[in-house]
C-alpha cells in the first residue's frame, strides 16, 4: 500500500525495536539465572591411543558433552579436563578417526583408544537447533565428511558437495565463483530450489563467502522429520554448517596453502571447419538450393571458391589493397564516426581457433593461516584466507579474502557466550555462459577465416559481407578488463547459553549479515563487427543489505528412570531481511580512460534507479524427543511461521514426526555378532516455502515505467512525460507452499564396524505450490499474482555404503559409495493450465522446454526425427495419404522427416512429443582412500546417469541456413546428399525451415551421462621425529589432479549443464571444468 495508516506504523516500529532489544535482555536474564545455578567441577585425565598401533595420539580434541569445556591431548597423547560433574560424558574427536563419547561415571582416569573413522553411532551432530547423537536421529540426515570437502579446490563449499552426500545433486561449471545448482532430493518448486544453509545458526541462501577450511561439520537434513523444525524455509532441504572453534590447549598455528594450474580443453573442440571447407560448404549449400554461388563477395567468381587474401575489403587479393587507406579510431566517441572507417583485414586462411583464443591455462593459489587455542575459560580460532582462483576463460576469476574470528568464553561452569564472525571481500567477474551472446557463444559463432586482429593490430570481426554477425570474443573479454564487481560480507552470530535447573539449557542467538556490493562497467564502442554497438556508456550500481535473526531456545533434557530419555526444545525466532540498491548509467564520454569514466563525467543521458526490499518472518517452534531404552526413538516437531509476504494467511503450521527402531538393541539380535547396529527409521512431515513470492504479491499496484507507460504527450521528439500503468494484480489470499514428505530408511553397521550401509526411500508431495500462471490476455499485462495452485511429486532412493580396514601391515583403506536418485513429476500447474513453456532460443516462438503435468520439470519437447525424405516419390506418397494432401510443411528431398506421433497422416503441432529431460536417473560418488605409513592416497569419482542434454550449439554450427557463422565438420561431411542417406544432418541448403532447424527437434538431444574422475590425491606426511626437532607438529605435502578424465558420449564441451529450476540442461556453449594440477602443503606448529 502506498500509505500506511499511522497507528499500524507506530506499533510496528515499537515491535521492531523490541525484537532487537530482546537479545541483551535475554542475555542478562540468562547470566543472572546461570550464576545462581552454577556447579562445581570434576577433573578427569588419561591417555588417548590409536587402536591398531597403540601409539599415542596427539592433538585429539576432548570436550565435555553439552559444554564448551574441553582440551586436547599433548604430544604423548595425554590430557586433563574439567567436567562439571562426575555424571558428564567426554567426547573424543580427532580428524580421520571415529569420535567416541565416554561417560565419566565418577572416574578420574579414563584411557581411550580411537580407530580410524568410518561410522560411529555416537557421533554428536548438530541438527535443528541442538545436537544429537547420531544413533538417536530418526530423521534423514546425511553427515558430510568435511575432510573430503577441502580436497576440492574450487574454493566453494557448495560446489565441493558434489557426490559427497547422498540425496544431494550439484551441477556446477568451470567458472570460478559461480554459484552451482544444488538440489536436495529432487525439485520442489517452480521457483527457487536452493537449499537453506544454516551457518552457525544463521540462515542464508549462499555460502560462497565461506572458506572450506573453516568448516567443522556439515549436515544435510533431507526429510521433513529432520528439516521441518526450520519450517518456513525447509522445503528445499537444509544444510547445517558449523564452523571451527579453537582447541582447548595452548596455541596452535596452522598454515594451508596450494598452487594449482588449470588446463582447458585443447584442439578443435567444436569441430569447426577450416576456412576452405567453410567456403566449400557454402557453395555446396547454395548449389543444393538450386542457386549459383558465384560471384561471391569473398570467394570470387570461379567455378570453385577461392579464399581471398583479405576479407575486408571483401574478397580482395594482395595488390588490390592500399594499406595507407586504412582508417580506424578504435576508441571513438562520436557514434557516427564508425561509418567513415576503412578497415583492412587479412584473411586467416589457416583458420582461427576462437576457443584457443579465449581459453588459456590458469594459475591459482590459496593460502590459509589459522591460529587457535583455548583453555578452561574459553577458546578462539582466528583464520585468514586468501583465494585467487583464475578461470581458464580469460579475465574470469574469483578473488576472495576472508578473516574469521570464532571465540567462546566460559563465563561460569554453566554459562557460555561466544561469537562466530567472518568478513569476506570478494571479486569475481563472470560471463553469462550457456548463451549465444557470451564470449563462449561468440567463439563458436565466429568464422575461422576472421583473424583476431586486423593489419594494424586493431580487432577484426564480422564486419564485411558474408562473415556472419558474431562479435569478436577476444575483443569482448578485452573490453571488460576495467570492469569491476566487488562484494563484501560480514556474516556471523553471537550467542549466549546457560545451563540451569540441572536439565535446562537456554540459548539466545543473534545472527545476521551485512553485505554490500559495488559494480561498474564500461561499454566500449565497437567497429569490427557486422552489428556494432557504437555508443560508449558507463553503468554503476551499489547495493547494501542486512538481515538479522534472533533465536531463543529453551532445551530440557532428562532421563526419567533408567530407560526413558526425554528432550523438549522450545524456541522462537524473528528474522528480517532489508536492503537497497542504487544504480545509474550514462554515456558519451570524452575520454575512455578508466580513471576518468564515472557516472558524473559522461556527457550523455544520465539515468538512475533504486529499490528497497524488506521481508520478515516470525516463528515459534518446538520439538519433543523421546527414546525408550535406546531402542525406540520418537521425535516430533512443530513449527508455526509467519511471513510478511502473505496478507490474509500469514501463518503456516509445519508438523513432523519420526520413529526409529534400533533392532540391534533387541535381545533377539544381541547375539548376532556381525551386526553392530541396525535401525529402521520412518518419518513424515510438512515443510514450507515462500521464497518464490514477490513481497508485493498481496497488493494491486500502479507504477510508472519510462519504457512502457511514459508517453511524449507534448509531441516532443526527445522527451517523454510520466504515465502510470497497473504494475501488479494483488492476491491477498496466497499462503505457504506445503511440502509433505515421507522417509523410510535403514541404517546398518556390520562386521565390527567394517561396513556401514544407509539406504532410504522417500516421497514428497508438494502442495499449494506458488505459481503465477499467465493471466488471460484481456486482463492486461500487469504482473500476475502468485497463487497456490501447483503440485509436484518426487520420489527416490538415497544410499551410502562405506567400509574401511587394513590390508595387513601398515596398509589401511577406506572406501565409500553414495547413490542419489530422484524421480520428479509435475502433478498440477494451475486451473486449465497443463503446461508452461520455456526457452525459445532461436526457435522464434517454439519452445524447447515444456513443463507439463505428468512429466519431469525441464523436459525437452519437439518433433521426433524419423529419418529423411529420401525421394520425391516418398513425399508424394505421404502427401497422397494425408488428409489435407500435405504430410509435412516444408517437405523436400533431403530434409528431416518427422514422426507422425498421433498417426493422423500429417505432421501438425500435435505430433510434438517429449524428447528427454536433463534430470538424471541417478548420480553417484565413489571415494577411495589408501594410507601406507606416511603416505596417503585418495581418489574421488563422480558420475551422473541418464541425464539428457539439449545441445543448442549444434543449431549454430551444424546447419548452413542458421546464421552465417562458423560451421562444423558434421555439416560438411555428415549431411544428407543424394549419395549419402545415412547421415545425421539434412541436406545443407540456404533455406532452413520447419523440416531442418527452425523448430525444436530430436537432433539436438543427446545423452549426457558421464563418469568423471574428479580427484586423485597423493600425500606425504613428514615423520614426527624429523619435525619435532624444528618445532613443527605436522607437515603434509600433497599433489592432486582434478578432473583427470571424463567418460561420456556427449559431443559437447562438458556434460555438466546447469540452468534454472524449470529450465536447465540446455548447452549453448558451456564454461567447462578444466583439468587441474595442484600442489599443496599443510603445516601445523
Amino acid at each position: 500500500m502506498g500509505i500506511m495508516n499511522k497507528s499500524t506504523q507506530n506499533k510496528k516500529v515499537k515491535c521492531f525495536f523490541w525484537l532487537k532489544r530482546m537479545f541483551p535482555v535475554t542475555l542478562f536474564i540468562m547470566i543472572f539465572v546461570g550464576v545462581s545455578y552454577g556447579q562445581n567441577s570434576f577433573t578427569v585425565s588419561g591417555t588417548v591411543t590409536e587402536q591398531s598401533t597403540s601409539n599415542p595420539l596427539p592433538g585429539v580434541n576432548i570436550l565435555v558433552v553439552g559444554t564448551t569445556n574441553g582440551t586436547a591431548t599433548n604430544t604423548d597423547g595425554q590430557y586433563q579436563v574439567n567436567a562439571n560433574s562426575p555424571n558428564d560424558s567426554l567426547r573424543f574427536s580427532y580428524i580421520g578417526y571415529q569420535e567416541k563419547i565416554v561417560p565419566i561415571n565418577g572416574r578420574h582416569n579414563i584411557n581411550v583408544t580411537l580407530s580410524p573413522s568410518t561410522f560411529s553411532g555416537q557421533e554428536v551432530v548438530v541438527v535443528g537447533y541442538s545436537s544429537q547423537e547420531r544413533q538417536n536421529i530418526s530423521g534423514s540426515v546425511d553427515i558430510v565428511d568435511v575432510d573430503n570437502l577441502t580436497t576440492g579446490t574450487s574454493g566453494d563449499v557448495s560446489k565441493q558437495l558434489q557426490g559427497r552426500a547422498s540425496g544431494v545433486n550439484v551441477i556446477s561449471s568451470g567458472q570460478p565463483g559461480e554459484d552451482p545448482m544444488v538440489r536436495i532430493r529432487g525439485i520442489n518448486t517452480f521457483g527457487n530450489n536452493s537449499p537453506l544453509y544454516i551457518v552457525d545458526g544463521v540462515p542464508t541462501q549462499s555460502i560462497n563467502n565461506l572458506n572450506p577450511d573453516d568448516v567443522e561439520s556439515m549436515q544435510v537434513l533431507k526429510d521433513a522429520a529432520a528439516a521441518s523444525i526450520y519450517g518456513s524455509r525447509a522445503s528445499n532441504g537444509v544444510i547445517i554448517i558449523t564452523t571451527k572453534n579453537g582447541g582447548n590447549e595452548g596455541v596452535k598455528v596452522e598454515y594451508k596453502g596450494y598452487a594449482s594450474y588449470d588446463v582447458p580443453k585443447g584442439g578443435n573442440v567444436w569441430n569447426i571447419l577450416s576456412p576452405q571447407e567453410m567456403a566449400d560448404l557454402k557453395w555446396q549449400a547454395i548449389r543444393n538450393s538450386g542457386g549459383n554461388p558465384a560471384p561471391d563477395p569473398q570467394y570470387g567468381s570461379g567455378s570453385e571458391p577461392v579464399l581471398p587474401d583479405y576479407i575486408l575489403p571483401a574478397g580482395a587479393m594482395e595488390g588490390d589493397i592500399d594499406p595507407s587507406s586504412y582508417y580506424v579510431v578504435p576508441e571513438y566517441s562520436d557514434a557516427q564516426l564508425v561509418n567513415t572507417f576503412h578497415q583492412i583485414v587479412r584473411a586467416n586462411k589457416s583458420g582461427t581457433n576462437w576457443y584457443d583464443q579465449i581459453f588459456s591455462p590458469a594459475l591459482s593459489m590459496n593460502h590459509e593461516l589459522a591460529v587457535s587455542g583455548g583453555g578452561e575459560n574459553g577458546s578462539f580460532r582466528v583464520s585468514f584466507s586468501h583465494l585467487d582462483r583464475q578461470g581458464t576463460l580469460d579475465r574470469t576469476y574469483n578473488r576472495r579474502s576472508s578473516i574469521r574470528a570464532n571465540t567462546q568464553f566460559n563465563v561460569n561452569d554453566n554459562i557460555r557466550i561466544g561469537e562466530n564472525m567472518t568478513f569476506t571481500v570478494q571479486q569475481s567477474p563472470q560471463v553469462n555462459a550457456l548463451s549465444e551472446g557470451s564470449p563462449i557463444g561468440m567463439a563458436y559463432r565466429s568464422q575461422p577465416i576472421i583473424p583476431v586482429y586486423d593489419i594494424k593490430g586493431n580487432f577484426a570481426g564480422s564486419a564485411g559481407p558474408q562473415l556472419g554477425q558474431a562479435r569478436n570474443p577476444v575483443a569482448m573479454l578485452y573490453r571488460r578488463r576495467n570492469n569491476s564487481a566487488k562484494n563484501s560480507r560480514l556474516f556471523g552470530n553471537a550467542f549466549a547459553e546457560v545451563d540451569f535447573l540441572d536439565n535446562f539449557t537456554f540459548k539466545t542467538n543473534l545472527g545476521g549479515e551485512l553485505s554490500s556490493g559495488t559494480n561498474h562497467s564500461f561499454t566500449y564502442p565497437e567497429y569490427e563487427n557486422a552489428e556494432n554497438n557504437t555508443v560508449n556508456s558507463f553503468n554503476a550500481n551499489s547495493s547494501y543489505g542486512y538481515n538479522w535473526i534472533v533465536t531463543n531456545t529453551l532445551d530440557y533434557k532428562e532421563m526419567l528412570g533408567k530407560v526413558h530419555s526425554v528432550e523438549i526444545l522450545l524456541g522462537t525466532e524473528a528474522y528480517q531481511n532489508r536492503g537497497q540498491v542504487v544504480g545509474g548509467s550514462t554515456n558519451d564520454f570524452f575520454s575512455f580512460n578508466p580513471y576518468y569514466t564515472n557516472l558524473s563525467t559522461g556527457s550523455g543521458n544520465k539515468t538512475n534507479y533504486s529499490y528497497i526490499y524488506d521481508q520478515r518472518l516470525l516463528s515459534l517452534f518446538g520439538r519433543v524427543d523421546y527414546s525408550y531404552d535406546n531402542k525406540y526413538i520418537f521425535s516430533a516437531t512443530l513449527r508455526r511461521d509467519g511471513s510478511s509476504k502473505f496478507e490474509n494467511y500469514k501463518w503456516g503450521m509445519f508438523p513432523a514426526g519420526s520413529f526409529a527402531w534400533r533392532i540391534s538393541q533387541e535381545n533377539f539380535m544381541k547375539n548376532v555378532k556381525w551386526i553392530s547396529d541396525l535401525r529402521i527409521r520412518v518419518g513424515y512431515g510438512i515443510m514450507g516455502n515462500q521464497l518464490n513470492v514477490d513481497p508485493n504479491n498481496p497488493y494491486t499496484l500502479f507504477a510508472g515505467n519510462p519504457a512502457s507507460s511514459y508517453y511524449p504527450r507534448t509531441g516532443s521528439n526527445n522527451s517523454v512525460q510520466l504515465g502510470f500503468e497497473q504494475s501488479r494484480i494483488g492476491n491477498p489470499d496466497a499462503k505457504w507452499e506445503k511440502n509433505k514428505s515421507g522417509n523410510i530408511g535403514i541404517d546398518a553397521t556390520l562386521f565390527q564396524d567394517k561396513l556401514n550401509i544407509t539406504a532410504e526411500y522417500y516421497w514428497k508431495d508438494i502442495q499449494d505450490l506458488l505459481y503465477n500462471p499467465e493471466l488471460i490476455g484481456t486482463a492486461g499485462t500487469a504482473s500476475q499474482p502468485y497463487i497456490n495452485v501447483g503440485n509436484m511429486k518426487n520420489k527416490g532412493v538415497d544410499a551410502t555404503i562405506s567400509t574401511n580396514g587394513t590390508l595387513g601391515g601398515a596398509w589401511q583403506y577406506n572406501a565409500s559409495v553414495n547413490f542419489t536418485s530422484y524421480n520428479n513429476k509435475i502433478a498440477r500447474i494451475a486451473n486449465n493450465i497443463e503446461y508452461f513453456n520455456q526457452d525459445s532460443r532461436r526457435f522464434s516462438g517454439s519452445y524447447i522446454i515444456r513443463n507439463e503435468v505428468g512429466h519431469a520439470v525441464s523436459s525437452y519437447y519437439g518433433y521426433k526425427i524419423d529419418g529423411f525424405f529420401n525421394s520425391q516419390s516418398e513425399i508424394d506418397n505421404l502427401n497422397a495419404s494425408s488428409p489435407n494432401g500435405l504430410y509435412q510443411n516444408d517437405a523436400r528431398v533431403g530434409v528431416y522427416r518427422y514422426a507422425d506421433i498421433n498417426g493422423d497422416g500429417q505432421i501438425t503441432p500435435d505430433d510434438r512429443t517429449f524428447l528427454g529431460n536433463p534430470n538424471p536417473d541417478f548420480t553417484y560418488g565413489i571415494n577411495f582412500g589408501l594410507n601406507f605409513k606416511n603416505f596417503d592416497f585418495s581418489t574421488f569419482i563422480y558420475g551422473s546417469q541418464g541425464n539428457d542434454i539439449w545441445n543448442q550449439v549444434k543449431w549454430w554450427t551444424d546447419f548452413y541456413a542458421d546464421f552465417a557463422g562458423a560451421k562444423s565438420k558434421a555439416a560438411l561431411y555428415d549431411s544428407w546428399t543424394p549419395n549419402n542417406h545415412d547421415a545425421s544432418l539434412p541436406i545443407q541448403s540456404t533455406g532452413g525451415g520447419f523440416s531442418v532447424s527452425t523448430v525444436p527437434n530430436s537432433y539436438f538431444v543427446e545423452d549426457g551421462s558421464y563418469l568423471r574422475v574428479k580427484n586423485v590425491i597423493l600425500g606425504f606426511t613428514l615423520p614426527n621425529n624429523v619435525l619435532s626437532k624444528v618445532g613443527i607438529s605436522r607437515l603434509r605435502l600433497y599433489a592432486q589432479v582434478s578432473n583427470l578424465f571424463t567418460i561420456t558420449g556427449y559431443s559437447g564441451l562438458d556434460p555438466e549443464i546447469g540452468g534454472t529450476s524449470t529450465d536447465f540442461g540446455i548447452d549453448e556453449g558451456s564454461y567447462a571444468s578444466s583439468r587441474q594440477f595442484l600442489f599443496g602443503i599443510n603445516l601445523s606448529l
Binding site: 499500524t8 567468381s301 552489428e531 522462537t572 500502479f702 508517453y711 509531441g715 512525460q721 490476455g777
Partner: protein
C-alpha cells in the same frame, strides 16, 4: 524431580516464549515499496497520469516480451508484409513466423500474434483503469472528467479497432466488466462506434498538448470505422465535415504537406497539417533505452550499411513495379507487372548497373531503397550489397522509417543494438482520409467527388519540387565536381560517390582505383512522369480500382495494405497472383504463399488465449474459421 523444580521449569518456559512473541504480529506487516495503490491516484493529477499511461501503450513496446516488430503499431508485419508490400528480409533462419504471416500460413501458435493480442488488450486495460477510477475522483468538474473519459474511450476505440481488423471476433472488456474472461461471440463494431461517438461529443477541437487526440481525430476514426463496415452514407457525412473544417490538435486546418516526404520527417511534425492521429515517437529521451523511439520497426534498416541493424522489411518487386506509369503519368493497375522495373539481383556489387529508365511515379523513391537512387541523403542506394539475403528476399530496402544522415544525431537513437528513431507513426494521415473519402464517394456513385479527392493526393506528388533529386547526394559526397577529371582525381574509396553537376548525375565508385573511369557507375535521375487523372470518371468499378491502387501507392509500407485488401474483398485474387508473380524471383520467401478464402481474411485467435479461456474444460474463446 521435586515439585519445586517442576514449577520453575514450567515458569521459565512460559516466560521465554511469552516474552518473544508478545505483541509482535504487526512485525509481519511489510508495505509495498516503489508502487502506488489506487487510493493515491484518485485525484485529477493521478487520473491524468494514468491516462498518459494509456497513451503509453500506443507504441506497443516494452509491454510483451517478444519481438518488438510483433507489436509494432505500424503493423509492418501484419499489414505490409502480409499485404505484399514487402518481404520479411533479414535472414531466413530468423523470425520464421514473419515469413509464415507473409505467406498467409499463420497458425494459432505463432507467438507474435499472441504478443499483438496482449499488447492491444493491455492498451484496453489501461483505458479501462482510467474509466474505472474517474468516478472516484473528487477534485475534478464533470466537464474535465468527460474530456478525460473521452480521451480514454478514443484510445480504447483505437485498440479495439486494431483487434477487430486483426482478429475479427474478439471479446469486449470495458470498465464495468467484472469477469475478464469473456467470449468472443459478438461483433464489437457497435461498441467501437460508441466509443468514438462519445469521444466526438466530449473532446475539444484543439489540445494544448500536441500528442493528445482531438474531436476531429475521433471523427476521422469513426468515419474509418464506417468505411470498414461499408456504412457509406454516415461515412460521407463525416468526411464532408472533416475535410471542410477539420483541424489538428494544434489548430492547423487539415491538409496535405507540400512534400510527400515530410510525413516521415520528425523535423516537420510540428505544424503538420496531415497528422490526423499519430503515435508520437522520441529519440534520446534520457531513459537510456530506445523503448519510446519507434522501437517496433527498429530492425527495418538496410544491412551492411551505416545502420547498425538488421535488414528486415524489404519491399517486393511487385510493389516496385506498381509505380510504373504510362506515358500520361498515370498508374497501370491492370498491367503494371507486365514489365518489371529492373533490379540488381543478378549483378555483382562491383559490376555496372543501369537503373530503370521507364517512367515512374516519384513516390516510389520515397518508399523504396533501390540501387542507384539517392537514399535520402545517404548516397546512391547500393542495392543487394545492403540486403542480407537477396536471393531470399530481394534487393530492395525500406525507406519511410529511415532517418536522414543529417538528422542522425537528433532523430536516431543508438542506445540499443538497433537504431530507434523519432519518426512518428501516422495511424491516420490526411491523405488516407482523402482516399477513404474518395472510396466512400465512389461507392455512393459520386465519381467526380472521388476523382477530385484522388487528384488532390496525386497533385502533391506530381509537383516536381517534391521529387527525389540528384542534389540529395551532395551533402555527403566525397566530392561535387563539374567535370570528369576532377572526379578521377578524387580520393574516393569503393562505396564513395561523387556528384557531377555537369551531368546532373552521381558517380559511384564500385571498386579499386578512382582514376579508372570503368570503376565508376553513373546513376542518372530517375524518369518521373506523374499526373492527375484528367476528365471525368464514368465507371464506378474503374473508379474504385483506381482508388484502391492509389491507396497502394500512397500508403505503401505504412501497414495498411493487407487490411485494405480484405475489406475490399480482393485479397484472394490479389495476393495469390502476387505470390505467383513474386515467388519465382526468390529462393524462399513467398514461394509457399497461398491465400485461403474464408480463413485468411483474419488472423487466428492465439492458441494461448484460447487455452487460457478454458472454464470447466471448455474454452470461452472460439477460433476463427479455417484455423484449428
Amino acid at each position: 524431580m521435586s515439585k519445586l523444580i517442576s514449577t520453575k521449569k514450567i515458569l521459565f518456559m512460559v516466560l521465554a516464549i511469552g516474552l518473544t512473541i508478545y505483541g509482535c504480529d504487526t512485525f509481519l506487516n511489510a508495505p509495498a515499496r516503489g508502487s502506488l495503490s489506487e487510493d493515491v491516484l484518485s485525484n485529477q493529477k493521478g487520473v491524468e497520469t494514468l491516462l498518459n499511461g494509456a497513451y503509453g501503450a500506443l507504441d506497443g513496446q516494452a509491454i510483451v516480451s517478444d519481438r518488438s516488430g510483433a507489436t509494432a503499431p505500424s503493423n509492418w508485419v501484419y499489414g505490409s508484409i502480409a499485404g505484399g508490400d514487402a518481404h520479411k528480409g533479414e535472414s531466413i533462419g530468423n523470425t520464421a513466423g514473419y515469413v509464415l504471416i507473409g505467406n498467409m500460413q499463420a497458425n494459432p501458435s505463432i507467438s507474435y500474434l499472441n504478443a499483438k493480442w496482449k499488447a492491444l488488450y493491455e492498451g484496453v486495460s489501461r483505458t479501462n483503469a482510467v474509466l474505472k477510477l474517474l468516478p472516484k475522483v473528487n477534485d475534478m468538474d464533470d466537464n474535465t472528467k468527460s474530456e478525460v473519459a473521452a480521451e480514454a474511450r478514443f484510445l480504447r476505440g483505437h485498440y479495439y479497432f486494431e483487434l477487430k481488423k486483426m482478429f475479427n471476433m474478439v471479446p469486449w472488456i470495458d470498465e464495468n466488466t467484472k469477469d475478464l474472461n469473456q467470449p468472443n461471440d459478438t461483433d464489437i463494431w457497435p461498441k467501437i462506434e460508441e466509443d468514438f461517438k462519445f469521444a466526438i461529443d466530449n473532446l475539444p477541437a484543439t489540445q494544448s498538448d500536441k500528442g493528445r487526440v482531438n474531436k476531429w481525430a475521433a471523427e476521422a476514426y469513426l468515419a474509418k470505422t464506417y468505411v470498414f463496415q461499408k456504412k457509406w452514407q454516415p461515412a460521407k457525412d463525416l468526411y464532408d465535415e472533416i475535410i471542410m473544417n477539420g483541424v489538428t490538435t494544434q489548430g492547423v486546418p487539415y491538409g496535405l504537406f507540400d512534400n510527400f516526404w515530410d510525413n516521415f520527417n520528425p523535423a516537420k511534425e510540428d505544424g503538420s497539417p496531415e497528422a490526423v492521429f499519430s503515435i508520437e515517437m522520441v529519440a534520446n529521451d534520457g531513459t537510456g533505452t530506445t523503448a519510446n523511439a519507434n522501437l517496433g520497426i527498429r530492425v527495418a534498416f538496410p544491412y551492411n550499411g551505416p545502420f547498425s541493424c538488421c535488414g528486415y522489411y524489404q519491399p517486393t518487386q511487385d510493389l516496385v513495379n506498381s509505380y510504373r506509369t504510362d506515358s500520361n503519368g498515370l498508374p497501370m493497375p491492370d498491367n503494371y507487372d507486365s514489365t518489371p522495373v529492373n533490379n540488381d539481383m543478378q549483378v555483382a556489387d562491383d559490376a555496372q548497373f543501369d537503373p530503370y529508365s521507364g517512367s515512374l511515379d516519384p513516390r516510389l523513391d520515397w518508399t523504396v531503397g533501390r540501387r542507384g537512387v539517392p537514399y535520402l541523403d545517404w548516397g546512391p542506394y547500393p542495392g543487394t550489397a545492403w540486403a542480407r539475403e537477396p536471393n531470399n528476399f530481394g534487393p530492395y530496402g525500406p525507406k519511410k522509417n529511415v532517418y536522414w544522415h543529417a538528422q542522425q544525431d537528433q532523430y536516431a537513437d543508438l542506445n540499443s543494438w538497433a537504431p530507434g528513431t523519432a519518426i512518428n507513426y501516422n495511424v491516420i494521415r490526411f491523405a488516407d482520409v482523402l482516399l477513404m473519402a474518395a472510396e466512400t464517394e465512389a461507392q455512393l456513385g459520386n465519381l467526380e467527388a472521388a476523382r477530385n479527392y484522388v487528384n488532390r493526393v496525386r497533385n502533391r506528388s506530381a509537383d516536381t519540387t517534391s521529387w527525389v533529386r540528384n542534389d540529395l547526394n551532395k551533402a555527403y559526397a566525397v566530392d561535387v565536381v563539374d567535370n570528369e577529371q576532377d572526379m578521377l582525381n578524387s580520393n574516393a574509396q569503393p562505396g564513395d560517390w561523387v556528384v557531377r553537376t555537369d551531368r546532373n548525375s552521381t558517380f559511384y565508385l564500385l571498386k579499386g582505383d578512382p582514376g579508372d573511369i570503368n570503376n565508376w557507375n553513373e546513376y542518372e535521375e530517375p524518369n518521373y512522369v506523374m499526373n492527375t487523372y484528367p476528365g471525368p470518371w464514368s465507371d464506378k468499378n474503374t473508379a474504385l480500382k483506381r482508388i484502391y491502387f492509389e491507396r497502394k501507392l500512397e500508403l505503401a509500407m505504412e501497414g495498411h495494405r493487407f487490411f485494405d485488401l480484405v475489406r475490399w474483398g480482393i485479397a484472394e485474387e490479389t495476393l495469390n497472383s502476387f505470390y505467383d508473380y513474386e515467388g519465382p524471383f526468390l529462393n524462399i520467401s513467398t514461394r509457399d504463399g497461398h491465400f485461403t478464402p474464408n480463413q485468411d481474411e483474419y488472423y487466428p485467435i492465439p492458441q494461448n488465449q484460447i487455452d487460457l479461456s478454458v472454464v470447466d474444460g471448455k474454452p470461452k474463446l472460439k477460433q476463427n474459421p479455417g484455423y484449428n
